[in-house]
Amino acid sequence: MAKATIPEEELMLSGHVGCLGCGATLTMRYVLKALGKNTVISVPACCWAVMPGPYPLRCLEIPMLYNAFETTGASISGLRAAYDMKGRPDINVLGFAGDGGTADIGIQSLSGAVERGDNVFYVMYDNEAYMNTGVQRSSSTPYGAWTTTTPGGTTGDWKRQPKKNMMEIMVAHRIPYAATASVAYPEDMVKKLRKGIDVRGPKFYHIYAPCPTGWRLSPDKTIEISKLATDSCIFPIYEVENGIYTINRKPAKKVPVRDYLRLQGRFRHLGEEELNRIQEAVDWDWKLLLRKEEFMKDM
């Protein structure tokens, strides 16, 4: 017998239309457990826009507003201003968008909201492609991945560019709080969102959210793959508070990144050479992050 390690309250309902093992729905479930009922959410086009099913169905216990694909940042700035005018600074305003809606099409409106210093939460649930329209590559799709627009096959045309680093882009804005989190560690995710309630200004969360459908992954492996992502250091869990880096999880023993890639059909075509190249890139990024944490300690 054990106590619940995350809040009991469920603000996301069953009956949503997410695929089997969907990491995006787990992300929403944990984020709302952390922020509670006093929250308004704005969602652009993405899998989360269709989760409730057709009108008049709803699958959240809080108000959910739909915005145009590129406008999440602007919409949460507007909601914040409206609630402040109405004397409700206590309402949490949350933008919740996919990686395509954040790292590609919504990046300018997000940049605007963060630069203005608006007191909002922004969650980028990262399933590493445009999943709702059928797995097209985004700038957050990792190097080496198959997608329908990087089809691989005989042309060897899988994604050749590295994943865009949204955390660094946010840090470059001098954002007061930015953090990564993963569905494998809901306690950490809840803690980081709760921390954000006391931070005035923009809060950005880059959340690792596996998509079994688009990753060609068995749906029961959503949590297993997320743990491997962090244990192999391809998706590290860390936070940046006013420019100071803290790594929240350091694997005792680094798992080879190929163990992570091999579970997913989207990386099946990669040969020895590419696997080694990815390992080198991951090692470099991890070293850089460790150095940043170390360097910032005395600042």
């Binding site: 054990a2 093992g21 969907c22 009108y55 709803r58 699958c59 959503t222």
Partner: protein
């Protein structure tokens, strides 16, 4: 006659979705059904924690109960259970 400017209060009410998705049955999607071996379960709540379909209910000292109306059979619970107390069984 004085005319009043239209204000936000005059707007028609937004379409607000009213019907909870719990009314929708997603259990038909399932190929494998999670079943519990109570003799192995230690009530750790890990299955409850990781369910993306909010289809496991339990309290601190109860066994997990599966909501077969909504469970889609993803199998995360069985994969994460530290005691292998959840067995996925093919639906009839």
């Amino acid at each position: 006659m004085t005319t009043r400017k239209a204000a936000h209060k005059d707007l028609p009410r937004m379409p607000i979705t009213t019907i909870p998705s719990t009314k929708v049955v997603t259990g038909f999607w399932r190929t494998f059904r999670p079943t519990l071996d109570e003799s192995k379960c230690i009530k750790c709540r890990i299955c409850w924690k990781f369910c993306p379909d909010v289809s496991i209910s339990m309290t601190d000292d109860s066994f997990p109960a599966f909501d077969y109306e909504h469970c889609k059979g993803c199998g995360i619970c069985a994969n994460e259970c530290p005691r292998k107390a959840i067995i996925m069984v093919m639906e009839e």
